[in-house]
């Protein structure tokens, strides 16, 4: 199956449509809530939470013996929340730093989860197969009810988000100030954290424990580069997330033997790399170009200064001078002269140049300007 075939099938094949819809919704909710995680400097919390969810899945399976996704996800939610609160507890009650706390919860919970998973695999229980998909995600296993659940949670998150938009924004920017205005910051904090954990848990089946955090971060980090408005950022992150989900699933569905998680993450990473380089406001490329342009401007101005120095000696500033006088000035080239002429700072007639009034003002301004620029 090629990618084009995939998208053709999308309109006819029911299963394919379900899967695609599922990953799109998942990408959207992850991007949306991931923006908050990124802005709260909790980027790596997602990594810890997703790993911490693994033992929950295994224990839920051991208790119920069933493969019902919702039960497993409930287990994941509970153990993810335990991990989250333990991280908070460790950093407030002991002198362990947050990076250590995150790393501990991440690796220890995951290790315990792996112990349980390998234990389950050895059990004579026909149902056991399928827990593996939670490691790297298998979008193909999504069924309609999963998609409904995702859509429901996304809708709920969206409503909460719109309802408390103002409070969330305030809290993200300035928590202390939020408190002085009389808002219950604890409530806001717990709500945001809860929804982030929920989004992670929902993504485990599709993206997997190991790479879920990237699903949360990458769309948000990409979106941040294109806008300076929180609302636009959240919206863009949702769009990027949805696209990563759909493209990732499409690519992995058309290849044999590929888990969805890594592919989705790579697609999202491409979004990030592209945004880092090409975003007009913050991107590296345009920053470089602006830097070059500024330097060029500086060179031009230096030449203009030089001309100003010569022209100043005459009563009439527009008195023509020979271009040759400039020859012993470093950095002056024919190109510089032409560019200065284009800026209408000088006029050139034959082998002579003359400062214009505009050029004179510009040069004079440079002296005054340097002091009041902050």
């Amino acid at each position: 199956m090629t990618i084009t075939e995939y998208f053709q099938l999308l309109f006819t094949d029911y299963t394919l449509r379900t899967i695609t819809l599922g990953t799109a919704v998942l990408g959207a909710i992850c991007g949306m809530l991931g923006s908050f995680a990124v802005l709260r400097k909790q980027s790596l919390l997602g990594d810890a939470i997703s790993h911490a969810a693994l033992p929950g899945i295994a224990i839920a399976f051991l208790i119920t013996g069933a493969k019902d996704t919702n039960v497993l996800l409930l287990g994941a939610l509970i153990s993810g929340l335990i991990g989250t609160f333990w991280i908070k507890g460790m950093t407030t009650k002991t002198h362990l730093k947050s990076d250590t706390a995150l790393g501990l919860v991440l690796s220890l919970f995951f290790g315990f989860g792996m112990l349980l998973l390998t234990y389950i695999q050895k059990q004579p229980n026909a149902n056991q197969a399928g827990l593996d998909k939670y490691l790297f995600g298998q979008a193909a296993t999504l069924v309609v009810s999963d998609v409904w659940l995702m859509t429901f949670v996304t809708g709920l998150a969206l409503i909460i988000l719109l309802l408390f938009w103002k409070e969330f924004k305030l809290m993200l920017f300035d928590a202390d100030y939020t408190k002085t205005l009389g808002f219950n910051t604890r409530f806001i904090d717990i709500t945001i954290t809860f929804f982030i954990v929920l989004a992670i848990v929902l993504g485990l089946q599709t993206v997997g424990v190991v790479l879920m955090s990237a699903m949360l971060l990458a769309p948000a980090a990409a979106a941040r580069q294109w806008t300076n408005k929180l609302s636009v950022m959240v919206f863009l992150a949702a769009v990027f997330g949805a696209f990563s989900g759909v493209f990732g699933t499409a690519i992995s569905a058309t290849q044999n033997n590929l888990s969805t998680g890594p592919v989705i993450v790579l697609v999202a990473s491409v979004f990030v790399a592209f945004s880092f380089i090409f975003s007009p406001g913050r991107g590296i490329l345009f920053r470089q170009l602006r830097f070059r342009k500024n330097r060029r401007e500086l060179e031009l101005k230096k030449t203009l200064q030089m001309m100003f120095g010569i022209a100043k000696t005459h009563e009439n500033v527009s008195h023509p001078h020979s271009i040759k006088i400039l020859n012993n000035f470093q950095g002056f080239t024919k190109k510089t002269i032409r560019e200065i002429e284009e800026k209408k700072w000088i006029t050139i007639t034959g082998q002579e140049w003359a400062l214009t009034q505009k050029g004179f003002d510009e040069a004079e301004n440079m002296f005054n300007k340097s002091s009041d620029d902050e």
Binding site: V38, K41, Q42, S43, L44, G46, D47, H51, G89, M90, K93, T94, H95, L96, K97, D99, T100, L102, G103, L104, L106, S107, L108, F110, G111, F112, G113, M114, L115, L116, L117, T118, Y119, K122, D132, L135, F136, V210, L211, S213, A214, L217, A218, A221, R224, Q225, Q255, N257, L258, S259, G261, P262, V263, V265, L266, S269, V272, F276, R282, I284
Partner: protein
């Protein structure tokens, strides 16, 4: 115990020690999560190295993979420098991308690469004894033991050689550059050693559990001591203990060895986290409660010291005015009485000579910002003994 069993335990112990040593420095330098990033991002390096060498135990592969670990660190630092995203986001963006590339490379070349994704996450410690190093027909033992042994030896040598430098640069970067040790060299040296260790340990315990072996022993030790040498020894001990006991747990449950080792690490950490003498949760909570009383007592004495007016010293005032329902006024008054800090006459509380003395000294210490001296103070005045 069969000999493969013994060999597995020895390998596990060596891996644990090799991970614990750089782990201590990562934890102290607040870079614990770098080990997470490295352990994931060496995967493409390992796969590419495997294409070239066709041997998972080749030193060249280890060097290539370790290089990709160092590249990760550099890449993360580069992204941080652009200021486009926050520091931790940079880590969170780089390693999943590299890890994904690795996983996809494995999947796309499944026929050529004898690495499967489970092994990537979990390692294959159980199979380690079967890949033997045979030199001119003589069986020298398992290959991975040799590899980890060499890595451990290098780590220990470097540790001994640069112990002083590492110590100074970990606790005081400014001082270390003033003394002429380049923090940059030490930083990348540590990153290189960590990368090499992770690559070596990777095959045995997998990508994520290597993080557990690095961070957990160090974090556990950190809750028991702040002294660097003791911390190193303790984390080595916790590492070995968890490795051996983890092996037997796995044996008993017939489950993954690496999973069991990290479960044991987690168990040991949890115990220490709860019960460590001065930094454990229970002791911290107890001390906070006690300190609350101490601070309240000092507040109370200071209040008496500040106010000569009778109404401020009336015993009822203490309940109403100072908002004392929070702090069990009676406990505080009792404590002060027991220590002969105050005397109560006709419902008026006043400071005794000893109380006055105590308050002034205490205040002195606090204003000069040396609150640890309060501990001496308590001893000097026999506070909380009677």
């Amino acid at each position: 115990m069969s000999s493969p069993q013994i060999e597995i335990q020895i390998i596990a112990a060596v891996v644990a020690v090799a991970c614990a040593i750089p782990g201590v420095f990562l934890v102290l330098r607040k870079m614990a999560l770098i080990s997470d990033a490295i352990s994931h991002s060496i995967l493409p390096g390992i796969v590419l190295g495997f294409f070239i060498t066709q041997d998972l135990n080749s030193p060249l592969l280890i060097i290539l993979a370790a290089l990709s670990g160092v590249i990760t660190v550099v890449l993360v630092e580069r992204i941080q420098k652009t200021g486009l995203v926050k520091e931790d986001t940079a880590i969170g963006l780089v390693f999943p991308a590299l890890f994904s590339i690795g996983v996809i490379l494995i999947a796309k070349n499944a026929n050529d690469v004898h690495l499967d994704v489970d092994a990537v996450l979990l390692g294959e410690l159980a199979f380690a004894p079967f890949d033997r190093l045979i030199m001119s027909g003589v069986d020298m033992g398992p290959k991975s033991l040799w590899i980890m042994g060499v890595i451990l030896l290098i780590t220990i040598t470097l540790l001994l050689l640069f112990f002083k430098e590492l110590k100074v640069s970990t606790f005081d970067i400014g001082l270390s550059s003033a003394l002429g040790f380049s923090p940059v060299v030490l930083h990348y040296g540590l990153m290189t050693i960590s990368s090499i260790t992770v690559v070596g340990a990777f095959e045995a315990v997998g990508a994520i559990l290597v993080v557990a072996l690095m961070i957990a022993p160090a974090a556990t030790a950190y809750l028991l001591t702040s002294e660097l040498k003791r911390m190193l020894f303790l984390s080595i001990f916790f590492g070995i203990f968890s490795a051996i006991s983890g092996y037997w747990l796995a044996h008993w449950l017939d489950a993954s060895i690496a999973g069991s080792i990290s479960t044991m690490l987690g168990f040991v950490f949890l115990l220490v986290y709860l019960f460590a003498p001065s930094k454990g949760l229970i002791s911290v909570m107890y001390r906070q409660k006690q300190q609350r009383t101490e601070v309240s007592l000092l507040t109370f004495l200071l209040h008496l010291n500040n106010h000569t007016e009778e109404e401020e010293r009336h015993i009822n005032h203490l309940r109403e005015h100072i908002n004392w329902q929070k702090i069990r006024a009676n406990t505080v008054v009792d404590l002060a009485l027991k220590n002969n800090m105050i005397s109560v006459e006709k419902e008026l509380v006043s400071l005794t000579e000893k109380g006055k003395n105590f308050t002034e000294t205490a205040l002195d210490y606090i204003i000069t910002n040396k609150d640890e001296k309060i501990e001496h103070l308590k001893e000097d005045f026999f506070l909380f003994r009677g």
